[in-house]
Symmetry: C2
Subunit: 191 residues, 2 copies
Amino acid sequence: MAGRPRDPDLEQRLLATAWSLLTSNGYDALTLTQVAAQAGAHRTDVYRRWRSKVRLVADVLDTYLPPVPDPDTGTLHGDLRAFAQDLAGAWNEPWNDGLVGFLADLRGDGEAGRTFRALVSRRSQPLVDAIARAVRRGEIAEVPELPFVGNLLEGPLMHRRMFGGGPLTPEELDVVTWSVHRLLTGTSVKP
Amino acid sequence: MAGRPRDPDLEQRLLATAWSLLTSNGYDALTLTQVAAQAGAHRTDVYRRWRSKVRLVADVLDTYLPPVPDPDTGTLHGDLRAFAQDLAGAWNEPWNDGLVGFLADLRGDGEAGRTFRALVSRRSQPLVDAIARAVRRGEIAEVPELPFVGNLLEGPLMHRRMFGGGPLTPEELDVVTWSVHRLLTGTSVKP
DNA sequence: CCAATTCGCAACAAGTTGTAGCGATACCGT
DNA sequence: ACGGTATCGCTACAACTTGTTGCGAATTGG
């Protein structure tokens, strides 16, 4: 009733290899042939565990993406700036803007999409917490647009990286930080 | 000294067909075989004119992307809101968020990248003009972060479309509009 | 010892981008 | 009129992808 057990290491090795190749070559250049070969396995071993490349990568990100630090600097502005810094570090990595290809593939796979969206949501928790702290300190009022703040902070940085020239600059981080800070400290969204 | 002339229609037909397929199926599903077939030509005809798929699409966008309207509503906020509305319309088109694949391919082709960046820069002109008008009206001071404002406005909408669920809502447009407006009307970026 | 399941491996299917080659066709300058 | 020249229509090929199928060998539980 139970056959040969699945090599427990193999799954880990495949994930680790995929993460390594992903971060060095980007998503589009990542091939399952490469992953399997470098993990000392066969492409079939990959397909026995993940239905497609996009699902493998979704799991890789879920496993290896470093967690978002929760800065807790004491001020809302300090926290926001820290988040911006962290995001900029990520988007300045060349492989990361190669993730656009992953996002494209994601649209064709509902399950992988759900996995990834859960990941994104989990990773925005520190920002939500930071804002909650600021509310508790009385620094700002309740924030009705809370679910959109993450987009407001990361969006400009991502956009600038995709369409613009070189790496993100400290000045740009300042601008985006102040833009969000101003929105949150305003008395209300509409004057 | 001059051979058979190039069919002047063919180039147009290929561009038009590519635009049609791009807007209905998205970038990733666009194949040059399809383009050629539907334009009544052969794949070789495409390669005789464009070195690669990404360059064809860069030219297609350059040719067919509708221009950004210049609203001139009389107030900075009105203009910003109009831009946000326009951008949301574009990003709510399903094919448009398929453009992430195009952006990915763009990284591997310097020439196409330049073409596209010139396009983006041209399309941000109305926003620059709107801000200049606001400065002339005395509504706001000079804007040092001018080249980043476009990212600030479009970034959150694009990010939200890529990572979030359904289409962009009017409330989100309000938030992003006010966020930029607040930044621009502030006395200075750093308090 | 037997059934079940994975593993290692080879081969295949279908699709993509991009290249090569060739006769036929149409144009330009002389 | 004619020769050079470049495009056109077409076929074929190369190299690569993702994803599937099949089968003997290995390894475990019952």
